[in-house]
Symmetry: C2
Subunit: 329 residues, 2 copies
């Protein structure tokens, strides 16, 4: 598809989208967060900033939304990666699906409030063993990251909210140049129903089967990479349930969207290993199986941070050795 | 549709469904819970038992589920009603969608663990004002209900899990005769993709629009009412976004599925008022607007409990006055 057609598709997608609620509030929060961590800020923190997207988007099938199509994602990958990026000294903009896994809360049960706490002698709340350490850690680390200006959490639900917020974030991260990174782990819908062509009311189940036609969501990655934040280091993800087509689709995405890396993962093994696909070749990354409870996100983030460093060096110096070229690509 | 055709549809739905995980565990829990509360049990509690269904079901579009259709429901109605049923002396089987609103937790923020708690002097967890009372109340009342044998919580996600569990629950409540009640507040999918005809792998977004054909979910209400638990008092819900067709669809459901009442609610006003549709006429129920924070579920449950009492009386005596006939219908 040529660029003009793509821009037309993108424009009509955003025109058809319901306006984002308090977008100005989001913009202000972002501005503050980025200034606080920006290398150019007087405060001289000079932190790199990564936007981690996490969880799945929904596609409403009715304007007064009763039914929608949802993309499955626990948000565990995004939450875990956020923790490792913060550990590596990054400030993280966590663009997450409401209700999905939160950073520092991965080891907690499904319903922590009701499962981890009890009332002692009818008055005081106390944490139940064996959850005590996990709960304390979650509350402490989460608050430390937020109050320390290292973690900004922005929730979304629909594909419309997600892409509108991603654009706002990208435009405000532009000022960071190569210090900005995108780590696009969210499970984004490929198809949607244009808002205007959407049934206003609940689809009736009169009789017989229901036939639906969904349009393709325009591929925003290329525009993010080349126009919204042309200097940012961009990592996208490719999830498939069929390993046979996974790597091929990942390297297609790498070229098509000019990503710096594409992380290929298969639904069944995604917690054990991933393959980082780059134009220089593929790197298998797996979790440290000698340590129980170790995360694949630990070595994955380490690898990407390392490549981001090289990327920053080269874009700032402009020149780089043959080895460095190989390292980035 | 004639009964034979319906039974064929239902059989093929259950045959096509993936087998329910630990269904025997569910059956045991139910058996225990119902015996504990049964009027015929030696312990002589003689509580009525209501099955409250809550939240929306999902319809997988792929066998290795990446995408699915979801029915929106916060689960607030079911959670609130559960509290009022327990207050009215009922034992509640709460069949709820994972992640939806839980009884006694309605007044808490979206992410209670991270919003309601803080670490005092790096060691102890303490509840933040102003959440203190809400959090304590939630933990105390929830544990009291569960440990007191008044609340059994059973989670579901897909339409397949929901209907298989509903059948198991109905069959185990049969022994309660007229003391059993169904309060079917869950938002159940009208359409589904038969498991066998489902794509095994993630649907590819090659190019062009995606066309989907969904089959109608067979109407189980009639079978629940007439075969699974013929003596139970059955209340179903009808949600519409279009008030013009709401009452008509509710009274159709009343006759078609032989419900004792259908609660008609409109998406935008459902927290303010509902209309209880019975063969004897329609009753408008609205929340007590003189009290801030009052729930429409309070008078709604009161009304239904009252009608359930009359129903039990009549079915046990067999005879009833003209007035009573009018009361039930």
């Amino acid at each position: 598809m040529d660029s003009a057609a793509l821009h037309e598709e993108i424009d009509s997608f955003f025109e058809s989208a319901p306006p984002l609620k308090d977008s100005s509030k989001v913009t202000d929060k972002l501005k503050q967060f980025i200034e606080f961590n920006s290398p150019s800020s007087g405060e001289g923190r000079g932190r790199r900033v990564v936007c981690v997207t996490s969880g799945g988007t929904t596609v409403p099938l009715e304007q007064r939304c009763v039914r929608y199509i949802d993309n499955f994602s626990s948000g565990n990958r995004g939450a875990a990666s956020t923790e490792y990026f913060i550990k590596a000294g990054y400030a993280v903009i966590f663009l997450y699906r409401r209700g999905t896994c939160q950073p520092y809360c991965r080891s907690l049960p499904e319903d922590p409030l009701l499962e981890c706490f009890e009332i002692a002698d009818d008055v005081d709340i106390q944490v139940r063993q064996p959850h005590s350490e996990a709960v304390k850690g979650a509350i402490r680390d989460h608050h430390a990251a937020v109050t320390g200006g290292l973690l900004l959490k922005l929730p979304f639900t629909t594909i419309f909210e997600y892409l509108q917020m991603l654009r706002i974030i990208a435009l405000s991260m532009r000022s960071l140049g190569p210090h900005a990174m995108f780590y696009l782990a969210a499970a984004v819908s490929d198809f949607y129903v244009p808002w205007k062509s959407m049934a206003e009311h609940k689809i009736q189940s009169a009789s017989g089967p229901l036939d639906m036609r969904l349009m393709q969501v325009p591929k925003m990655l290329l525009v993010l990479r080349t126009e919204w934040t042309p200097m940012a280091f961009c990592i996208s993800f490719k999830l498939e349930t069929d390993s046979k087509i996974l790597l091929e689709k990942a390297s297609t995405a790498l070229k098509k969207y000019k990503m710096h890396s594409v992380v290929a993962n298969e639904l069944l093994t995604r917690k054990e290993e991933v393959i980082v696909v780059t134009s220089g070749g593929n790197i298998l990354v797996h979790r440290d199986r000698t340590r129980t409870g170790s995360d694949v996100e630990d070595p994955l983030v380490e690898l990407l941070v390392d490549r981001h460093s090289t990327y920053i060096k080269t874009t700032s110096t402009g020149s780089l050795s043959k080895q460095e070229v190989l390292d980035i690509h």
